[in-house]
Symmetry: C2
């Protein structure tokens, strides 16, 4: 784009206007390309947009069809508003918002009617004062509760809607005689809107965020495994056999792990917990365990950053010391890589994997060999700067295996909590 | 809490109910403690809650005072709703939401009136069809645009409100004769509500998120500097002089750096960009530069994780090799620590700091000395596992200085972009 853009700095206003005139089509083309890529990267985004359009079309029928309009009247607009505000990309997010909105409206509506009743008891002059007092007090209290981390994570939207509905019912109740009718209307329309949004979201090409989370966690473990396996075979290669580093897929995969946001799993997990009806996971799926596994994977990825750095550096393990430690190091890499890939497949397919322990045992044996070599190796006249890279690779590998054991334990815990199928049932087909 | 809780597992339903009965006061006390701590940690949260209550009280006067109610009528409720939805903790967030809401309502209102006019041209039967088509199409398009990362970051709320207002005006316009009046009412009430929220937020104990961001960035750089300075004096100490590690403040500070969310600065920066009226920063403050400095600090913190690990391990630099590299290593630590602390104070006070370069030059010289030692050190009969910790500390320190140079360059760029005061002007008082 930079090549196509004419230089519009340091020129007169007229020339500059011409410059913008020429730039504009470029900008539009660029924007169109971005939008196209967005759709290609994840076509479900297009489907989601169409679903929102469809839900709105459905819901605006309340306005166009006379019998429906007669029943709800102009409050139909709250059905439309609710659908727009509640409809989200994933089922979990939609359910979370919908349930929050319904519960908050219900409870705040009831409280609003109660406060309105209390206020009418205090006479015509006292009424606005009592109302003002309650609105200010409840709004301030609920706003403060929104700061509580446990509340913020799951009920922030609900608390906001609580303030909104309460103010709406109690304040506008001052001018309205039929407060109970108004509150009832609001609750009904919001429940209708939420249900329409949730049903549309689930019934048409649903996106279960729980499955996304499972894939995310499994893919990350797999990338780690691929990197370790790839590293073992690449680092100790002689120069001529090496591929250009930019071509190697396992390094790209590993790098994508490092750029992961540390709290991404937490956000996704909080949405997944709303998906109570996903047939694969059931009502009491241990979602928190995914956060634990995700954090351990992230820590492990950062621990082996040193390995990646040495892969990029010119000095590799070509010296005598490097050749000495090659065999146990490669063994550790391949065995722990296999263990990680088994773990990834266990998470993805919800099967128990018994072979993981065997791989871990083998890498532990390799570690003992490596430690013995490091202890007994004596070097004369060696250059420290040459030895350090290989030695650090060795020490990092010794450090990595306990990390992998932790991941394996966490996956094992998940497997028992979520009742993963045992290999015995897998033989049948 | 665990100690106080009676064991309520494996007991009959009656005993369990008694157990819960005993537990409940504990739960309430615990919750109360949490809420108290929340207020003590940041008293501005209490002030914010009271501000929301006050703004709502102000805005509900539209209902209670007859002359005001006569002007706006029952649409006053949109003023109340807008205040609740727009009012946020920081000025930046409130401005962002308020401007988004106002612009979106204005443009969507205009578009809605236009589409309604178009629909009425197509006859009584054609009208709902034309309306349905436009609502579905525009909702789907705007929903898709919300996926664009550049849009999502700053205009997500505005786009949502755009869909909302457009549907509201065009759909409910089908049953309303005075569409133009309705759209006008909606735009006016929302602008009023937004302005009330923004003014209350700015005028009473405002929280400028730009200043928070500046402090966040400066404190992180300072923590890094404290850690390096502290590390230099602690790592090469002999055993008897050492404090227990848990007591050392600089380690705690450093650890808090590691748990920082990588994208925290980006989120905060996007809010800070809305604060166009903060007198300290002005309209064109280079906020993006803070993200750059924050990322560099984060990378640097992760690079020196190895130093922290060795500080915790039993093996420290007590051997001959460790004593040999002590002098240049300590020099690097203290000089680069000083440089970082100067940089932190430059960011915080918006002054240029010329002494930074001197400190960096000194640490560069120390690096040359250290490198020379590593190159010339020859060791016979040394145990590799004993030497590695000190050697890795040395190599990490050699790696850290270029990182600090990058931070210094980024701060220098910020200083010139944001016109930081030069030291010359600082002499005057």
């Amino acid at each position: 784009m930079n090549i196509a853009a004419p230089n519009i700095e340091n020129t007169g206003p007229f020339t500059r206007a011409c410059g913008w005139h020429k730039l504009l089509p470029n900008k539009i083309v660029e924007m169109a390309k971005k939008i196209k890529k967005l759709g290609q990267d994840d076509p479900r985004r297009i489907i989601h947009s169409l679903k929102v359009g469809l839900a709105l079309t459905l819901v605006s029928l309340f306005y166009y069809i006379q019998p429906l309009y007669d029943r709800i009247g102009e409050n139909s607009i709250w059905v439309v508003i609710t659908v727009i505000l509640v409809f989200e990309f994933s089922v979990g997010a939609t359910l979370g918002k919908g349930l929050n909105r319904m519960l908050a409206t219900l409870s705040a509506g009831a409280l609003g009617v109660g406060v309105h009743h209390l206020a009418t008891l205090s006479g015509e002059k006292g009424e606005p004062i009592v109302l003002e007092f309650f609105v200010a007090m409840i709004a301030a209290t609920v706003t403060f509760v929104r700061f509580l981390p446990t509340m913020k994570v799951r009920y922030d939207y609900g608390l906001l809607i609580f303030i909104l509905t309460f103010s709406l019912v109690s304040v506008s109740g001052y001018r309205e005689d039929k407060v109970l009718y108004m509150a009832h209307q609001r609750v009904t329309t919001i429940i209708m809107g939420s249900i329409i949004a949730i049903v549309t979201c689930i019934c048409i090409c649903h996106v279960w965020i729980g499955e996304e989370l499972q894939d995310l966690i499994a893919n990350n473990i797999e990338k780690l495994g691929n990197f370790l396996q790839g590293f073992g075979s690449e680092f100790f290669k002689i120069s001529e056999d090496r591929q250009p580093l930019s071509d190697i897929a396992f390094i790209q995969g590993y790098k994508s792990l490092l750029t992961l946001k540390k709290n991404e799993e937490t956000t996704v997990t909080n949405l997944a917990r709303w998906e109570m009806w996903d047939y694969r996971f059931g009502l009491f799926h241990p979602w928190k365990q995914y956060v634990k596994i995700g954090t351990l994977t992230w820590q492990c990825a950062h621990k082996i950053e040193a390995l990646n750095n040495y892969l990029n550096s010119e000095i590799r393990a070509l010296n005598e010391f490097g050749r000495k430690i090659q065999k146990p190091s490669t063994k550790i890499c391949s065995e722990s890589g296999k263990a990680l890939r088994e773990l990834a497949s266990a998470v993805k397919k919800m099967y128990q994997r018994t072979s993981v322990n065997a791989h871990i045992e083998k890498s532990k044996t390799a570690i003992e060999n490596l430690k013995f070599m490091l202890d007994t190796y004596h070097f004369e006249d060696a250059n420290l700067q040459e030895i350090i890279p290989s030695a650090e690779v060795a020490l990092t590998l010794i450090d990595v295996v306990p990390c992998i054991v932790k991941i394996a334990d966490a996956v094992q815990e998940l497997a028992s909590l979520a009742h993963f199928k045992t290999p015995a049932t897998r033989v049948s087909p």
